[in-house]
């Protein structure tokens, strides 16, 4: 984390720095100590950093999971059955009320348009894209990306 912060001095790089820190972590999410450190580095307040973290939906808040599954639920995917995919995922992975899977590996997120409408319904698992899905295909994809 120190290495990453060293690259960014200007306050405007806060979002870039958070991206890089999260990309490098095995478990997604930032702890209190890390948030304090970031705030200090950019000479701003913890409230500012928390404000930015909570504003942007790609930044998880304190949820420790290995993979994030982003299911697009915007119109193009929606009319091709993405809600059913969400329901299937939640039951298949045994998600709790925070949408974290029973084994703690996955976070299931319903997200807005991913710009993958040509291959709807589509999901992103971390940085990878999967399209033209149905329940069976999704199941295979999940098992391959565990």
């Amino acid at each position: 984390m120190d290495e990453i912060l060293k690259r960014y001095n200007d306050r405007s790089y806060l979002i870039e720095a958070i991206h890089d820190i999260l990309d490098k972590k095995d478990e997604k999410g930032l702890g209190d100590e890390e948030i304090r450190k970031i705030a200090k580095h950019f000479k701003t307040s913890v409230a500012e950093v928390l404000g930015v973290l909570t504003f942007y939906s790609m930044f998880p808040v304190k949820l420790k999971v290995k993979h994030t599954i982003r299911v697009c639920v915007s119109p193009a995917c929606y009319i091709k059955g993405s809600r059913e995919l969400v329901e299937f995922l939640k039951s298949y992975l045994g998600c709790d009320e925070n949408n974290v899977s029973r084994d703690g590996l996955f976070l299931v997120e319903e997200v807005e348009c991913l710009g993958l409408c040509d291959i709807a319904p589509a999901v992103m698992i971390d940085n990878k894209i999967f399209g033209n899905l149905d329940k069976e295909k999704l199941k295979t994809v999940i098992e391959e990306n565990r």
């Binding site: 930015v52 942007y56 119109p75 009319i79 807005e112 348009c113 993958l116 040509d118 709807a120």
Partner: protein, 405 residues
């Protein structure tokens, strides 16, 4: 992604069937010749005049004349000026900018550099939505290749002109597509839109004059400067010159990206995408900020002015086709939920309005609320919201109910 050039178009302006993601490929196709021509003797005013004469309109959705923006920034007095490319493509149904970023990154770099040269800017940012991991990688590579060969950086191609360009990633916020919210995000803050005026051309990044253009807008610049405004005006219509990228998805046999003249009909685009899967019901044009077009509008020309005459909008050009089995009201509910999720919370009409609007719409569906009451609220939000996000439901709902107030 499948790409199609609409059959009445002899050759595409933006789409290209060969990948141009290396500098060598771009230069061998005549890339950076235009930049070189202007840096070695061309006048800034020629660039500004040509873009103005071309009548190019912003392709992000608002369709503002690009030449007017560029001239305003060029004429502004400031030590620092900026050029920003809005690549925060988040409008549901829209995937055109992704194609450009992934396939023709240098076209954007050259266009932004020329824009900076013409307006007197010294620094540029490409703001790409965080979800577009691949586009970010391709663009990052392209920028570093351009730096290595002196197409970016200090004294570009041995001229006196210097320009620095960097990528800033978004992080999952639709409102960042709004230009002032995007500027806030580049500054590293929560992306809440600013009051306008002042517009970014007067006070943009860090309060300095800033050009903000969509990816597709920049993608037209080089061919205009290469071939002239008159050449560009052979495409499209009088008030909407040029070609347009139309991302077509939903109930068509082959979802794809189509380049066509502005003024093309919806019916043509649907045909090019392999026709409708089952019977055509309607199309959502322009995404969540857009509106429905129906069967009787299949032969109506799609351009900024023709749709405006009907009280409708073209927006980003996204076409989402619904067949007779799709439930239009479910799509409307889905979009209202989308706006609830994406509202930044800064202004009351949008933050408080959308949840109530959704309830009222559900009330309309079960018969307890009149359509006038639903439209009254969306009209109020249109008049009082700070940015386009809070204003967008007006077009959607009026087209749903089939009325223009």
């Amino acid at each position: 992604m499948k790409i199609i050039v609409e059959s009445s178009l002899s050759s595409p302006v933006i789409l290209s069937f060969s990948k141009e993601d290396t500098l060598t490929a771009y230069v061998s196709n005549g890339g950076f010749e235009t930049l070189e021509r202007f840096l070695k003797g061309g006048k800034r005013i020629e660039i500004l005049n040509e873009i103005l004469k071309s009548g190019l309109r912003g392709r992000g959705g608002a369709a503002f004349k690009t030449g007017i923006k560029w001239n305003a920034v060029a004429n502004a007095k400031s030590d620092k000026k900026f050029v920003v490319c809005n690549a925060d493509e988040g409008e549901p149904g829209t995937f055109k900018d992704r194609w450009i970023l992934e396939n023709r990154p240098f076209l954007i770099i050259e266009a932004m550099t020329l824009c900076a040269y013409a307006t007197g800017a010294s620094r540029g940012y490409i703001y790409i939505r965080g979800e577009y991991k691949n586009a970010i990688e391709v663009m990052k590579n392209a920028i570093s290749q351009a730096y290595n060969e002196s197409f970016l950086g200090q004294k570009i191609m041995d001229s006196d002109f210097s320009f620095d360009l960097e990528i800033r990633r978004g992080a999952g916020s639709y409102v960042c597509g709004e230009e002032t919210a995007l500027l806030e995000s580049i500054e590293g803050k929560r992306a809440q839109p600013r009051f306008k005026p002042p517009f970014p051309v007067e006070k943009g990044l860090w309060g300095c004059p800033t050009v903000v253009n969509n990816v597709e807008t920049f993608a037209n610049v080089i061919s205009i400067l290469k071939n002239g405004a008159d050449w560009f005006r052979q495409f499209g219509t009088q008030d909407s010159p040029g070609t347009k990228l139309f991302p077509v998805s939903g109930r068509v046999k082959e979802p794809c990206l189509i380049e066509a003249n502005l003024g093309v009909t919806l019916g043509r685009l649907v045909e090019e995408a392999g026709g409708v899967d089952d019977d055509f019901q309607c199309a959502l044009v322009g995404g969540a900020a857009g509106n429905f077009l129906y069967k009787d509008e299949l032969n109506y020309p799609l351009s900024y002015e023709t749709l405006k005459e009907k009280g409708k909008v073209l927006g980003s050009g996204a076409i989402l086709v619904l067949n007779k089995n799709d439930r239009r009201e479910e799509v409307v509910k889905n979009i209202l939920e989308f706006f609830i999720n994406e509202s930044c919370g800064k202004c009351t009409p949008c933050r408080e309005g959308y949840p109530v609007l959704l309830e009222k719409f559900k009330g309309y569906l079960n018969g307890s609320i009149s359509k006038d009451e639903v439209l009254r609220l969306s009209n109020l939000m249109f008049k009082t919201s700070l940015c386009a996000l809070g204003q967008s439901s007006k077009f959607l709902l009026e087209s749903y109910f089939g009325v223009v107030l």
